[in-house]
Amino acid sequence: MIRHLCRLLLLLAFGLVGSAGMAAPPPGEYQIKAAYLINFARYVEWPSGRLPVGGVLRLCILGRDPFGGGLEGLDGRQVQGREVRLREVDNLEQAQDCHLVFVSGSEERRMGLILRGLAGRGVLTVSDIEGFAEAGGGIGLVTEENRVRFDINQASLVRDGLRASSQLLRLGRQVLGMERVSR
């Protein structure tokens, strides 16, 4: 009985494989996340002392690069009149020079340390580590029902002198620390 059921289910499974093989896949998760990064650079304003107009916006990945080359297309792009320059960093000192730091999932165990090290330095931190915005990160990417959404920790952004545009705040799945700001 069980053997029959297993065979049936396997057939069903492979039947579905076959059909899915024909339909081309929509963009991958990290392609979408890469597109988000450039959008965050567009919709967040850094203090002019930290990022002068005409300067270079350093977009860094801290830890292992999960984008698989998907970020290369962003290098050299113009955003708010600044040139985006991509950089891979592997320690906190280097990350402190960046404007936007994507904290890779490989750094999950060090998340608290990293957030502490980058706090108050005008760095926008972005990550897809679970609970990132909750833990005090700037923007957390969240995958929900096959879509990538984001949570914003407004209190963290304000602390770091960053200004998120109203559009960004409106589209966020959750905006944390809002009460504090409105007061």
């Binding site: 597109a35 988000y36 592997d90 608290g112």
Partner: protein
């Protein structure tokens, strides 16, 4: 559904849509468009674990939900290396890498950092452990010794149950389920925001669990019912400094039948009722210290276990734990910590069958750990050295070191090897109890028709902790949205607690015995630390998305435990107990279907090999789950377990001589309202 159909019928149509949203143009999409874009395949937690040189499985809230589990042990069934067997109503035997048992004494279990491992019996009273599963964020299962970080008793594994922060459980929840025999479970939770201060949730749960069956499938030999209530408060989640406070109180009563031998040699069933009560309070604070991150945790815990007319045990624990993670400097990443624990235990024997000397113990444990993660070659080679040094007023100083080497040649593959040593402190019961089990008939020709058998500590027993040395080799491949994992392990156990016949033979007691037939010769079993054994095995896990709508997850464990060759008889007895304690192989296969429209179907099958102890035959069970997200506020689940199997035995409880109980087909329906 119709879009999918269109894609199936005319693939070219779909190609074009993808091409326009191709790589180059994705970065030009606006935020509004990105938010609405569907992802082809979602990567999973496997990626985050690729950095860890240990055999770790993390069950997310979604994994737990899809397993159809209503208790923690059920959720653990699909973790490789973990063997779970139901031994009664709400009673479980859970083991990691063998060493299964009613009190799996080589497995440490913690809820939000609070140990639920009982020092009385060295193990977890699973029948007394109840959690709000809906508010569990994840369950981390670390196979292999976790002692260097978690402390004594993490010999074969550590299970960390982590509940959600109160800031992420705002709003109300009511979950109600009823099974095919009318046994209900109801859980309610209300989360409230405390504004700037943070958030808080309060919860309560009550359940009357389904009874097991006897071999004939008719009578119901056991029960388990009780309630749980508690709260959790968390500081506002905007800063990096964080605090948390939580408290729980619970009471459960459960009953089962104990098999005893009678004068005529026929088995006699005696009902045994348990009452468990527990209350605890835990607080934790995280802050920045010397550029790094520190955390201080304190908890108090009171536990009471009343075992029928035999006795009552209480355990009061006060625990303080400090951890500090330093900023990485150069190639070193250092972490250290200090801990202090005071445990007060008392066992009051209300029957002369059980005797404890001394009945009360005050145990003080002081510990320190340090771990250094050394980068040998950036992003490629890492060496982790660590150790825990524990002083206990009850046991000798046992250093518990570990060394782990990890090679990550690329983003996908990681290979690691480790050596660790861990210790298991003896339980109060093992160390101090004398028990009379009852009369046993003797073989024909013996001068006595029967003898009374008892167990007591051997003379001059040097009560040292059990020790294990473990070698592990692991490989993990990240498939982007799936993963493959294989772990080889070898355990070498020393000083296992074992029992053997008192060489001085039969004793003729001078006064009457508290058990039937009151006057009989006594044969004692002596306890000591003479056992030794080895085990080795392999754990495999695969997690692959076959299509958008179907995910396949499989796990398989093959292992062998043997008494050490050349061991003398006393050593062999202890090793043999471990040899017989668990099946030699078991595996699971899960198919998770997303049917669209918020409907999910899960089919899970598991096969568990035969267990030597209790002559438990191999069995296969298939579970089915259907879930429907009716609306944003309401979920409906239907779960059927043991679909093709009218009745099976999973394990025979090995601590008390309990009556073996059988698991029938079961089904339940559950509704979850969120508001």
């Amino acid at each position: 559904m119709s879009r999918r159909l269109a894609c199936l019928l005319a693939p070219t149509l779909c190609w074009t849509t993808v091409a326009t949203a191709g790589e180059a143009s994705l970065a030009d999409l606006s935020l509004e468009e990105l938010v609405r874009l569907d992802v082809s395949a979602v990567s999973r937690k496997a990626q985050k674990l690729s950095d860890t040189p240990a055999a770790i499985t993390v069950l997310s809230a979604a994994d737990i939900r899809r397993s159809g589990a209503r208790s923690v042990p059920e959720a653990l069934r699909e973790v490789p290396g973990v063997i779970v067997a139901q031994i009664g109503s709400g009673r479980w035997a859970v083991g990691v890498r063998g060493a299964e048992g009613r009190f799996s004494n080589k497995l440490l279990v913690q809820i939000d950092g609070r140990s639920v491992y009982s020092p009385l019996f060295s193990g977890v009273f699973w029948e007394a452990l109840d959690v709000m599963l809906a508010d569990v964020e994840r369950i981390e299962v670390i196979r292999g010794p976790g002692a260097s970080l978690w402390g004594a008793n993490a010999v074969n594994g550590v299970i960390n149950i982590v509940t959600r922060k109160a800031t992420t459980s705002l709003g109300g929840l009511v979950s109600a389920s009823v099974d095919d025999r009318g046994n209900p479970t109801v859980a309610v939770r209300q989360g409230v925001s405390l504004g700037d201060a943070g958030a808080m949730r309060v919860y309560a749960k009550g359940s009357d669990l389904a009874p097991s069956h006897t071999r004939d499938g008719r009578s119901e030999p056991d029960y388990n019912r009780g309630w749980l209530a508690g709260f959790r408060m968390d500081g506002a989640g905007s800063g990096v400094d964080a605090w948390m406070l939580q408290g729980n109180t619970s009471r459960r009563t459960s009953g089962e039948n104990i098999n005893t031998s009678s004068l005529t040699g026929d088995g006699l069933l005696i009902p045994l009722d348990f009452v468990f009560e527990s209350t605890n309070l835990l607080g934790r604070y995280n802050w920045g210290l010397a550029g790094g991150e520190a955390s201080l945790q304190a908890y108090m815990d009171h536990q009471l276990a009343n075992v029928g007319t035999y006795g009552r045990g209480t355990v009061n624990t006060a625990d303080l734990d400090f951890q500090h993670r330093l900023v990485p400097s150069g190639t070193h990443e250092l972490m250290w910590g200090l801990g202090a624990r005071m445990v007060q235990t008392e066992i009051i024997a209300t029957s002369a069958v059980l005797n404890l000397t001394p009945p009360r113990r005050n145990v003080r444990v002081f510990s320190a750990f340090v771990q250094d993660e050394i980068t040998l070659d950036p992003q490629t080679w890492k060496l982790t050295l660590g150790g825990r040094f524990e002083y206990s007023s009850l046991a000798r100083f046992e250093p518990q070191p570990t060394a782990r080497l990890m090679w990550t040649p690329n983003l996908k593959d990681s290979l690691w090897a480790s050596w660790s040593r861990a210790a298991r402190t003896l339980s109060i019961g093992e160390s101090d109890a004398s028990i009379l089990f009852g009369a046993q008939p003797t073989p024909a020709g013996s001068p006595f028709p029967l003898v009374v058998v008892g167990s007591r500590p051997g003379p001059g027993w040097n009560r040292r902790a059990e020790r294990v040395d473990t070698l592990e080799l692991g490989y993990r491949r990240n498939l982007g949205n799936g993963s493959v994992e294989a772990v080889l392990f070898h355990n070498n156990y020393h000083r296992l607690v074992s029992e053997w016949y008192d060489p001085s033979g039969l004793i003729l007691p001078t006064s009457s015995l508290p058990v039937e037939p009151f006057v009989a010769p006594l044969q004692y079993m002596q306890r000591g630390s003479e056992g030794s054994a080895r085990s080795h095995g392999v754990e495999l896990a695969v997690d692959v998305p076959v299509t958008d709508a179907l995910r396949l997850q499989a796990s398989y464990t093959l292992m062998d435990t043997r008494v050490r060759r050349g061991a003398d008889e006393a050593a062999a007895v202890g090793g043999r107990a471990l040899e017989q304690a668990a099946p030699q192989h078991w595996g699971t296969l899960r198919m998770s279907f997303n049917l669209g429209g918020g409907k999910e179907v899960d089919v899970a099958a598991r096969h568990v090999g035969a267990v030597g102890a209790g002559d438990v035959p191999a069995y296969t069970a298939v579970d089915f789950r259907y879930a429907w997200r009716v609306s944003r506020y309401f979920d409906l689940y239907f779960v059927a377990q043991n679909l093709f199997d009218p009745l099976h035995l999973e394990y025979v409880s090995n601590f008390f001589p309990s009556q073996p109980v059988y698991q029938p087909r079961r089904a339940f329906i559950q509704g979850v309202w969120r508001f």
